[in-house]
Subunit: 356 residues, 2 copies
């Protein structure tokens, strides 16, 4: 079967079943993966607009080779949507849209839905005022953060965003979980090239990587985390069993994690990471936290020469020995996926249907 | 002699001479130190308004116990003012003051002078639009960065600033100097307490600490820098002799240093760190770089409860085991200096006069 003909959910399922039966490799486009996941998320209880956004978020992450934020997350989304911890039908409410500030109450829905509502407002404000901020409260963010900023850079903006999340990380010199892994993503446009985009957790190690190390019985580097007594340990099980992750870069990374709490929870009026109590919701995987986004129009200060200057930065980085720019690896995988399709496990995809 | 009577330069010099002659301890207030340094900087060639700002910058850093940014820097300022690398009489020009964006051309003067001109504009725009940015180009920043953001927090704003500087640091996976040590400072207001303020270089180690280690014949931790062949080394001399510092936190700190180049040089229209060529100015110590500053009025998004929320953050940090907040050490030293005066070496102060 030609995967390019798999435009409907039923056709995609038939293709997956055929691949699974014949033990054949299975490749799909991001659009096909999205179509499939829209149906999955709708069946899991999400309203149509939410299902479309979550499906696209997972499909694009999978397309970019970020397995940890792609199909791997779908069962956790399904389980969470099966509780009333999150509202899969929430309509984001614009609380403030004044001056260069847009505040959105996600009404216990997903942050990406709030961003979709806010994006045209933010871009317009940044064009008029030179800078605009988006502050999202009462939201759940469980997706890849670069997907939020890259589109701004493709429109010529410099953008930065940060979210807080469930308390998994102790502050530097602290011993119990406080911060989320609190990622920060930044995007800068280039002329004739994909934008420069980085997306990094404030923890030294991602929670998913810690879980994988535990699963494989591997030690983790010293500095990754502490055990339940607040002692440094290389045993991932000890970190997971009542211990805490630690920030990257010691007290400096810890300060950045703190800044993200202030921006994403303090300024938005959202919940701090340690205030999120999911204990009554054992099947829920997302956090009720906030998101901060800053969008800058370079033309107000740097003028039309901005992208040329960024090319000289890229050249200087290469000359200094850094061959790969932040985002380059994703773009290479994305490009390959665009021509060859995204390789997926047909059985894992079919299992998602069974999980509903 | 009672130092509280030392209000004029001549009286301060007399006091210093008396202390030096009697081998007596010497204490001064920040105001007295400022008065003394204003005269020093004016004699070194700075115009009155610049001399006042530089004097205050050094005196406040000394008061806060930041020896590396206090009196220690005065000889380097004097030497630099003795060249035409910097313009000690520059009047900053407001290039753009539109919407939420203020762009200042420091006209080859000091960034702190540009900030002084911009501060009321920035605060007004942040109050009106919720957020404002300041972009300073063609400036020299050689002072402590927390001094730039702390006053915003004392007016109720959340503020962030970053400057690029002279190329001393290789990017992660690179081997030759590219970035400056590119500090980032952040300030958040508290109710009834000094603001939370951090100020951190993007390098693992400050250049001054590296120089001290070389002076004392001490090894530095692995990861501090590379030698001229791009190889990791623990020998500070090898890093200083054609090698490069490295970012804190590996590729994550390197991404932050890159972001700072984009914000402080790319967006401002200033020079990137590697574009600064002082080779014709052997006596110059400052950089011709840029500064980015973001100022946010929390009342637009978080409402009046913001500072109460920050108190709950402080409490959570303490509960988690982090007893000292960013800035606390400085405030303790500052408080002591306010009652006991700033302890200074009278001979070192008198030597500054001889250096003119």
């Amino acid at each position: 079967m030609n995967p390019s003909s798999c435009d409907t959910y039923n056709a995609i399922v038939a293709y997956l079943e055929s691949c699974a039966a014949n033990d054949a490799p299975c490749h799909m486009s991001a659009e096909q993966l999205t179509s499939f996941l829209v149906e999955i998320f709708e069946r899991a209880g999400a309203a149509s607009h939410t299902a479309r956004i979550l499906a696209r978020t997972c499909a694009l992450a999978e397309q970019d080779g970020a397995k940890s934020h792609g199909l791997y997350r779908v069962p956790a989304y399904i389980a969470t949507l099966g509780t009333d911890w999150v509202d899969g039908a929430a309509a984001p409410e614009v609380v403030t849209s004044k001056g260069a500030t847009v505040v959105i109450d996600a009404r216990n829905g997903f942050a990406q839905c709030a961003l979709q509502v806010a994006r045209p407002l933010i871009e317009e404000r940044a064009r008029v005022y030179g800078v605009a901020t988006l502050l999202v409260r009462r939201s759940h963010h469980f997706g890849a953060l670069w997907l939020d900023v890259e589109p701004f850079a493709r429109q010529g903006f410099v953008a930065l965003t940060a979210v807080n999340s469930i308390s998994h990380m102790a502050p530097h010199s602290g011993s119990t979980p406080l911060y989320g892994t609190n990622p920060l993503a930044f995007a800068c446009p280039r002329s004739g090239h994909d934008p420069i985009v980085f997306d990094q957790a404030s923890s030294l190690m991602a929670k998913g990587d810690l879980q994988l190390a535990a699963l494989h019985g591997e030690q983790v580097p010293l500095g990754t985390g502490v055990d339940k007594h607040g002692k440094l340990t290389q045993d991932p099980h000890a970190i997971l069993a009542g211990g805490a992750l630690l920030p990257f870069g010691g007290h400096k990374g810890s300060s950045i994690a703190m800044m993200i709490e202030i921006l994403a929870a303090g300024l938005t009026g959202g919940a701090f990471s340690w205030e999120i109590d999911r204990s009554e919701y054992p099947d829920a995987h997302t956090s009720r936290a906030g998101q901060f986004l800053l969008c800058i129009d370079p033309s107000h200060s740097a003028g039309p020469g901005f992208t040329g200057r960024i090319e000289s930065l890229v050249q200087a980085l290469h000359d200094s020995g850094q061959q790969r720019l932040p985002g380059d690896r994703r773009y290479a995988i994305r490009k390959q996926a665009a021509t060859q399709g995204i390789a997926v496990s047909p059985q894992a995809m079919l299992d998602l249907i069974q999980a509903l």
